[in-house]
Structures are given as C-alpha cells and as structure tokens.
Symmetry: C2
Subunit: 458 residues, 2 copies
Amino acid sequence: MSTARKATAGQLDADRPSAVSRASTHTLETVRDDTGQVTSVVRRTQLPSGLRIITEQMTGARSAALGVWVGVGSRDEDALTHGASHFLEHVLFKGTRERSALDISIQMDAVGGEFNAFTAKEYTCFHARVLADDLPLAVDVLGDMITDSVIAPADVDAERDVILDEIAMHDDDPDDVVQNLLAELAWGADGDLGRPIAGTTDSIEAMTPEQVMDFYRRHYVPANTVISVAGALDHGAVVREIERAFARNGWLDGTAAPLPPRHLAIESRPLVRGGEGRVARPFEQVNLVVGREGLDREDERRFALGVLNTALGGGTSSRLFQEVREIRGLAYSVYSFASHYTDSGIFGVAVGCLPDRTDEVLAVVREQLALIAAEGITADELARGKGQLVGGMILGLEDSGSRMMRSGKNELIHGDVMGIDEVIERIRAVTLGDVQELAAEVFSREELLAVVGPEVRS
Amino acid sequence: MSTARKATAGQLDADRPSAVSRASTHTLETVRDDTGQVTSVVRRTQLPSGLRIITEQMTGARSAALGVWVGVGSRDEDALTHGASHFLEHVLFKGTRERSALDISIQMDAVGGEFNAFTAKEYTCFHARVLADDLPLAVDVLGDMITDSVIAPADVDAERDVILDEIAMHDDDPDDVVQNLLAELAWGADGDLGRPIAGTTDSIEAMTPEQVMDFYRRHYVPANTVISVAGALDHGAVVREIERAFARNGWLDGTAAPLPPRHLAIESRPLVRGGEGRVARPFEQVNLVVGREGLDREDERRFALGVLNTALGGGTSSRLFQEVREIRGLAYSVYSFASHYTDSGIFGVAVGCLPDRTDEVLAVVREQLALIAAEGITADELARGKGQLVGGMILGLEDSGSRMMRSGKNELIHGDVMGIDEVIERIRAVTLGDVQELAAEVFSREELLAVVGPEVRS
C-alpha cells in the first residue's frame, strides 16, 4: 500500500543524466500593486547538485524568512523506523562539527531570531525569521546543521527523553488525539499515512542512533531539498551564501536532477475505509471529527473544495457555525477542514462539545452534509466563499514567514510555485455546479467518525 | 483587596470639567529606516466624548488592523458578576438593531477579514484585520456592535451554552488549568486577579441578561475606550469613519475626559502569598509552574525583568532550556514568563514533564533561580538577552495586527504609547547590577507552586 518514492537521490543521479551541470536562474513571478509598483519578485535557481533555491524579494520588508525543506516525513518510515524523521529533526539541533547545540542556540538567540522546525507526513522544514542583516548568519547556521551534523549517540539518547515527553504532551491534547485517531481509521494503523508523525513510545524507545543517521544520509541530499527565502533580500547574494554554507562536507558536490515530486511516482492510491473509532479519555469535552475521503494535492477540484469548505465550516457565517453554535449553542468550536497528501486526502468536520450534546451535534453535522450533497450551496455562499478565500490568502501572505512557507512547500510538493494571481483566478473560476458535483461525490463516501472523550453512558 | 477603579465614566463626566470640547490630534512618533525614509507615523486624536483614536500609518502595507479596546475585564467583576466581561464580549456578536448576528458574520467573512475578540483581566479587545479597502466596513461593523447591540435575553441564553462549553475546553487544556491554579494561589480564589476570566460553570449558569446589559451600559463608554488602527490608512479618514460609525445611539454625545489609567487610581496593592496547590488530573504529563510575585506594569524595572526572563528561560540558549531540556532531557517544554497587571505581577517558570521527572525538574529550576539570585547573569547573557529582546520586538512588529495591538493596549493601559526607539533605549540601558538586584529581590520572595497532573504515588 505504500506510495513512498522508491528512488533515492543517489539512484536518481545515475538514472537522470540530464542533470544540469551549471546553476540556472529564472524569474517566476513579478507582483505589482494597483499603481504598477513592484511589490515582490519570485526567482528560482537550481544548482548542479539538484538543490533548488526559491527567493521572494519583498519591497519594504525589514525581515527575511528562511526555510530548508527536505522531502522526507513519517510516510517514508516503516514499522522499524517509525518516528525517525521527527527524531532526526530534533537531533539536528544537537550540534555540528563546528558548533555545539549551545553555539547554535546562542547565535540565533543573540539576534532575536525565530528559529524552529517541524516534521509532517511528507516533508520536514527548518525555518528561521531574522532581521535582514542577520540573514547570512541564519543561512550559515542552517547550512551547517543540514550538511554537517554530528548525530552523536549520547545526543540521540538525551533527545529520546525529550521526544517521549513531547508524545505525552500530544496525548494530553484532545485535538491531537482525535486527529491521530482519524488518520488511523482512514489509512490503518500500519498505513504510511495512518501512523502518528512523532512515532509511538515503543518505536521511539527502540530507535537506534544508526537508524537516525541512516535517515540523515539517505534523505538529506541536495536533490531532495528546497531552500526558500522571502523578505528583504538580494537573490544573487542569497544564492552565494547558500553555496558557501551548504558546501560543507562536500554536500553540494556532484550533479543530479531534483528528485521529482511524489505525485509523479505514485504506484497506487491508498484505500480510505470508512469506520468509527472511540478513545475513552476522562476529558470534560467530547472532541469528534466526522470525515470522508477527500482530494489529493494535485486534484484540480481542490479549489472547488476550498470554496465548499469555506461555505460549510470556514468562518462564522458558515453553515456549521450558524447551525451548531449560533442557533443551537451546542459547541464553542466547530469548523471543517481539508487535508491533502500526494495520493489521498481527508475532508472533515471537527467539533468539541459537552458529552451530552454529542448525539445532537452529530445529527446536525450529518444533516448539513446531506443537504449540501443534495442541493449544493447558494449563489451568495459561493460569492462569499470566494471573497473569503481570496481576501484571507492576500492577508495571510503579508509577512515574510508566510511567503517563505508558501514558496518552499509548493516547490517541494508540486515542483512548481503557482503565481498568486493564478491561484486567485482558479478560485474565482469555481462554479455552483463544481461545488455541488464535488459535494455529492465526497459526502456520499463512507463516513469516518473519530470520537475522543469520556465514556458515554447508555 | 480590590483595586478596581471606583469611578465609572458617568461619574467622571461630572468630576472632570476639564474635558476638551473639540477633537485634538497629535503626532506621537515618526519612524524612519536607515535611509531616512518614513516607515510609519503614529498619530493620536481625542474626541470630545473622551474616545481616543491611535493610528499607525505603515508605508507599503496592504492591510489594516483595527482594535477596539474597552477598559473592563474580569477584575472589574465580583462574585455575582464573575465572567460578565467575557460573556458580554460573546453577546456583542449576537446582533445590533441594524444587523443580525448572521449579517455581522456575512459582512466580515465576505471580505476574508480576520475578526475576533478576547477578554483579559483588565481589558476587552475586539479586533479585525482586513484589506485596506475594507477598513471602512470593519469600522462600521465594530462601531455598530460597540454602540448599538441588542443583548436580547434569548441570545444571552444561547450564548450561555457556548461559554459553558468553552469553560469545559479550558478545563481540558493543561496549560490553562495550571495558569488558573497559579492565579488562584497568588491572589486568592476571591481576589479580583485570582478568578478565571471566563467565570465558573456556576457563575455563568446564574448570569442574568440584566447583569450583562449592566456591564455594557456602565463600561462601554467613550471615555473608557481606545480605538487603534494600523496599516495602510489615512488618519483623518479613519477618524471621520469612526465619528460616523460610533455615533449610533448617541454614543459619542457629551464631553468627558478619558478615564485615567488604572495605575493612577490604586488604593492598595493586592497581597501575593506564597503557597502550593495541586490539581489531580489523569493527564499523561505533569504541568507545573514555579512562581514568585513579580512586577506591576508601571514598574521601571520591567525592562531589567525582560532581560532576566530572556536569560533564564526565554530561548533555546537560556539557562532553563539548556539545563532542563538540552543537558538532562527532562522536558519538551520549559520556559519562563512575566505577567504584569496594574498593581501586581507574577514571574514564573512553566514546565511540562513526565510524572516521574517532577522532583528532578523542580530541583533544577530551584537551583537555577537560586544561582541567578546569588550571582546574577553573565555579561554574555546580558548582551544576548538585550539582542534577543530588541530583535524579537522589531521582528514582532512587522505586521499591521501586532502594531495595532501594541498601540491600543499601551494607550488604554498606560495612557501613553512609548516610542519603539525609547523601548529599545530602555532595554539597552539595563545593567548587570540591575538584573542581579532584581533577581535577588524577586527570587527571594515566597515560592508559588502550581502542579497539575496525575496523582503522585508516594
């Protein structure tokens, strides 16, 4: 069932003789404001090693955000290495040949930088946000960590305890528990998308330094990496700083084409079963998700799903907020969401409510899904949904951090960064028919129901 | 023990005949970048009614953020009205004479605006962030809500259920539980700072529509309100829009001086006792806070406390992160914090750990506090702490939303918005002696210890 890419970067070196031998640079997008003034320019450089660099120079910015995106996540693991991607992400902060863990922390803290990392099912991201003058420092620290970390067994052991504590923290968070349960229901406890990203207590206790090091060597290669930078910057200078900082340990040597995005290597789509699961926890609230198999990342209908998601549960004027909270007072938190992966996805409705409201909440949610599947949404909802998506996107892209996230993730995941104007055009092109057809299809799929909370008395 | 202001705006009308009868406008700050170009201008207008308007015009911004700050919070309540400020904040979204709850939601959602509110112990804030063209709409909707809400008994009852569910949600969040316990230990369960902001299940079940309406009439008056706007804007246009939108219901009629900030009306400081409290919860983790009485908002030593806080537990290079997480692997989350109120404050260290690590965590935290109290911090830590505070502040003020938060809160709380350059100067002026003297005083105060988690077996 696994759809993880079989090829590693090393194999691709041999398979793809078309790899360029010199850096190539292109301008992807020039954004202007209403007066015609350039507000941002997106450029892309591909190095001979297969490393891709995307910058977005933002007029008037004082900060710069830097992200290193590596195409490895929990779905690239198996039962033996479950949690290795996240474990590795932690261990890379423990020191390089040049810097101790404390050196890394001191240098980034001294400039007030935001500096962190996260691991997802299909990628790992290290990111920093600093004042423009400190960008070279941030590039150097991240370059050092990505290319020349030590991964000492003693550090792996110390970090093991930290990760076990992090898992315990997630176990105390009702949202995390219900989302993990939902993934397990959808893709199976052994499915590569069904496992929790951080691993389990058992898999983390059993993880060896060699397994962590093996993940580092296999996956942290230039052809599997995208670096995105946004804010106050000069593209050429950024490329030169990256070429210097990431050259450690011979990391940029050799030529390769970038690893193709995962969707070009899909062998089969994972089956999403319906089903119901409950985890009994002595919480005050019941947290539940009513879900369906959704759309994968490349599905052209994802823009229609965005509008549908907004109309159903995307804001305080949405059907679910109105029906569940405003009219009936059944819950404080209610919303819908769409998660996308290379070859699968989930559409869900999440609610937290008092235990004795659970049945009524479920009835209202199911009724609204059936209603939209049968009748679609109204013309007003369509217009409002589009306005909300477009306005929210523009508002959400005002800072350097969110621009960096957008370009890095898109280049790694899709192998392309769609222009903002094109995204807006795709949203505006969604029709009432698109939404209804999609709702009719998705909402007729078998129901997933994940419930976490106190034991229900019957 | 209460230090809540005794005067209401109505009384002040009569007490303060010096109230200006015409609007007055001043420029508070003009910020320039390294090349001398103006990047932002802060202006202040006071209307005859006592309403204060602070705008920050940001060069190059595409969005605008709007905040309405009302000087009422949970500390202005008593046992009978406990939770009224937060309840009222919810009910104001339920409709005006002109707009239903759904109208309000639809209008803000349609433009993709971020639109929300929060209640604190000393103030309530309603805020929106929209594209610049939509600012007049946001001003109109918020003006309508603040001045002309209906507060229908049926809406109060419907929202009561939502708030009870919100309280249950907080009860499931270990951080919220431990912070509420800490406040109760510090200021007492009946102290105006010791009560949880949202109220209790009992107080919310007993709240009447009349009590909520009474809070609205008494506290939502121009002299007790600050409106802050930041982003792409024109000050004069914003003032005119506010004068129009907030004129409903005669709200801007009459003349008054702004209510003085709370610190000018302090009668006595609340006593902060030391003490220990435990709440048994079947969580996986133990969440604990080791605290001390800290500093109030006006204390000149708050800049030194900022540096101390940063060095002790403000980043990954801090002593606590290094000693608790990096060296010993005892916890995933460990940090220190300083909370400030008009006449009191708490300095605390928060840790989440596995239950069997609790004793070791406590020993390490106490050892570090004692060490810094005895020896202060190093010159390196001082320099790094200042760099981190200054860099973090500049990075944190890049978007319109955070600028709006800064100016609105400061005008309401301090009666003044300190220039960013002055804040930086104050931080840079902190000496090693300042930090050690402060640490010696604060850390020698009686310990507060709040612990939430599974029953400890002994």
